[in-house]
């Protein structure tokens, strides 16, 4: 059946798998912050790629970006008879390494927004951060971890590629969901109307993750695995990654300097840690993130009323919240493990956990890159 529905990115829209955030879903401060994160990523990536590839960088990254743009348009047939769309971040991370992948995917996204008018211009930073930066690093780390130092032609590599693609897309989706999910809590008017994306975390996260865990993640896995399998037969050199691609006359490959990039990473982590206590803005319970129990408890009802411009919350739990609240139970219900009473402490703990996860991921990436030389980066 030929779908004649609305199109996005030149492909029929499958609502649950869109990660490109349009203008209007994110507040100006969110957009600005994410642009800053993205700019850091672009700047770092450009420097590293120039070190690694010198004059080769421009044509290689450009054509790869064109390639990933075209791949984003492929309808990937999935088990079950549906189709999905891949981003190409898995292949990009494997062939170009994380830095090259950041640039290539970002450029593809920029072309979508600036030339085709698909995707927002205030949210370009956010989209690049979610897909190009988080996606590339995740794909790279997972791939290197699972592929280890196995033979380039082994099945292990194919499996590694599939998992890397799948996890990367879902990581991107998660970050996107978080960005969308915190909008109502942080940005609402006096009457309680969310000003941007209207769904809180416990709605946004399941809504986004379901689509990506099933469709988009699989599509990425299929493309990543399929392409690695193809390259194993047809073009083994590309699987060796960036160090193999730099072999052209006249290329000057300077030595990489891991120390400086590590220093910057720590700065980024520190900044992130500073930002997380933003979650402690709301006194008591976060606005909008009420469980059914909160709405029935007279004490919290008073608090809610006070926080909502003195409008009383509905006397019975809105059916929507009732239904949806059972869908997702955060690992830290109420963001606080049982024994910790103070919500502030609970937020801090969750923040630590989130940041710790990020730090772990980057340390892993460094260790993995070092332990198995001959990989994509000499770092």
């Amino acid at each position: 059946m030929l779908s004649r529905g609305p199109t996005y990115n030149n492909a029929p829209v499958e609502i649950d798998e869109i990660m490109h955030i349009p203008d209007g879903y994110l507040s100006p401060s969110t957009c600005g912050t994410l642009y800053l994160f993205a700019a850091w990523g672009w700047y770092a990536a450009l420097k590293r790629i120039k070190q690694l590839l010198a004059t080769r960088a421009i044509p290689l990254i450009s054509v790869f970006a064109a390639f990933s743009f075209v791949v984003m348009m492929f309808n990937v047939p999935l088990p079950g008879g549906t189709t999905g769309h891949a981003v190409g971040v898995g292949v990009a991370a494997i062939v170009l390494g994380p830095w090259g992948s950041i640039l290539a995917i970002s450029i593809a996204l920029a072309i979508q927004a600036l030339f085709f008018g698909d995707g927002g211009i205030t949210t370009l930073g956010a989209n690049c951060f979610n897909m190009a930066i988080v996606g590339s690093f995740t794909a790279y780390v997972v791939y290197r971890t699972i592929a280890t130092n196995s033979n380039l032609k082994s099945r292990q590599r194919v499996v590694a590629a599939a998992v890397a693609g799948y996890v990367a897309i879902n990581a991107s989706a998660l970050v996107t969901a978080v960005e969308l999910g915190i909008q109502p809590m942080l940005f609402h008017d006096a009457s309680g109307t969310p000003l941007y994306a209207p769904y809180p975390l416990h709605v946004a996260i399941p809504a986004m993750m379901i689509g990506h865990l099933t469709l988009a993640g699989l599509a990425e896995a299929v493309i990543s695995a399929g392409m690695v399998s193809y390259l194993q037969r047809a073009d083994l050199g590309l699987l060796r990654g960036v160090s193999g691609l730099g072999q052209t006359p006249g290329t000057i490959i300077a030595g990489a300097s891991p120390e400086r990039s590590q220093g910057r990473l720590w700065w980024a982590v520190a900044l992130l840690m500073l930002f997380t206590p933003l979650g402690i803005l709301a006194a008591g319970t976060a606005w909008g993130e009420w469980s059914s129990a909160d709405l029935m408890n007279p004490h919290t009802r008073e608090q809610i009323a006070a926080a909502s411009g003195n409008h009383a919350p509905p006397s019975s739990v809105p059916v929507g919240i009732e239904r949806l609240s059972t869908l997702w139970t955060a690992p830290f219900p109420g963001y606080a493990p049982g024994f910790i009473k103070s919500p502030v402490f609970g937020y801090l703990l969750s923040a630590m956990f989130g940041v710790g996860f990020l730090v772990l991921a980057s340390l892993l990436g460094r260790a993995v890159g070092r332990k198995w030389p001959g990989g994509n980066l000499r770092s």
């Binding site: 209007g24 100006p28 211009i121």
Partner: protein, 272 residues
């Protein structure tokens, strides 16, 4: 269901992309309002208005900007039918549908309750849904009008003179140029596979076909990049990118820029 429906959708996507590019080229050469302005003014002005759209807190202000956007579109000979088809209907189908549940689950004073379904629509829900859809529509209208009325090379040059690094601009330019070549290559590959395939393929076979096409496309892409690199070297490329920017601001550009910024600020102030 066509046996090659997944190929058909992909092929249609290619056709749409090329059609969009041609649409852009056509509109950019029209003698309209935006086309008279320096591309830098157009880019900054559009960006400023989009920022205003997301700074506004009131529906009325955003609606006002939408009207301004439509006026600019008309003055720049951008067909409203094209806008409707490319932007307004698409967004209604996408963001509109996304915003629908917000009517019901946003807490607030109930406007309308259906006892039979135990569903109630809150005033806040209505406001938030309308706000979202209006914001997205307005921003998309602005960016689409910009993109349709401005040649790609001018957008690039505008970005360059706004101090985007030369390497990034060159990469954007080169990527764009080769997107069309790769679309054509992928198109040919899919068409030939379509005609060579007899009978219905299993899911696994279709996946393999797609992945293999992507793989071939990748090999060709890398090879292409190597050849392009040699061609660049042959013409004197040594790592630094030198571009020609020849924009000069005319009085009407200052007027235009002021108009954009004023409108944006006014909307934000009134919509605070």
């Amino acid at each position: 269901m066509s046996r090659h429906s997944f190929l058909e959708s992909t092929l249609q996507g290619f056709t749409r992309a090329v059609a969009k590019a041609l649409q852009s080229e056509h509109a950019a050469s029209q003698p309209g309002l935006l086309q008279q302005l320096d591309p830098r003014v157009r880019v900054i002005g559009t960006f400023a208005l989009v920022v205003s759209v997301i700074l506004c807190r009131r529906l009325e202000a955003i609606a006002a900007i939408l009207l301004v956007a439509i006026a600019i579109a008309v003055a720049s000979r951008v067909s409203l039918a094209a806008l409707a088809k490319r932007v307004w209907l698409v967004i209604l189908g996408f963001t509109g549908v996304i915003a629908l549940p917000a009517l019901f689950i946003t807490p607030g004073e109930p406007l309308f309750t259906s006892p039979a379904l135990h569903l109630s629509i809150s005033a806040q829900g209505v406001r938030t849904a309308v706000l979202l859809v209006l914001r997205v529509e307005t921003a998309a209208t602005l960016t689409t009008v910009l993109v349709l009325s401005t040649a790609w090379t001018h957008i690039l040059k505008a970005l360059r003179s706004l101090h985007l690094p030369a390497e990034i601009v060159t990469m954007l330019a080169m990527t764009h140029r080769y997107v069309f070549l790769l679309i054509e290559t992928a198109n040919q590959m899919f068409e030939s596979r379509k005609s060579r395939t007899v009978g219905v393929l299993s899911g696994a076979e279709r996946r393999r076909m797609t992945a293999r096409t992507a793989g071939v496309l990748l090999s060709k892409s890398i090879e292409l990049s190597q050849e392009v690199y040699l061609a660049m070297l042959s013409r004197g490329f040594r790592g630094e990118v030198r571009l020609l920017t020849d924009f000069r601001l005319k009085p009407r550009d200052y007027v235009g820029l002021t108009a954009f910024l004023f409108t944006g600020c006014l909307a934000v102030w009134m919509g605070r």
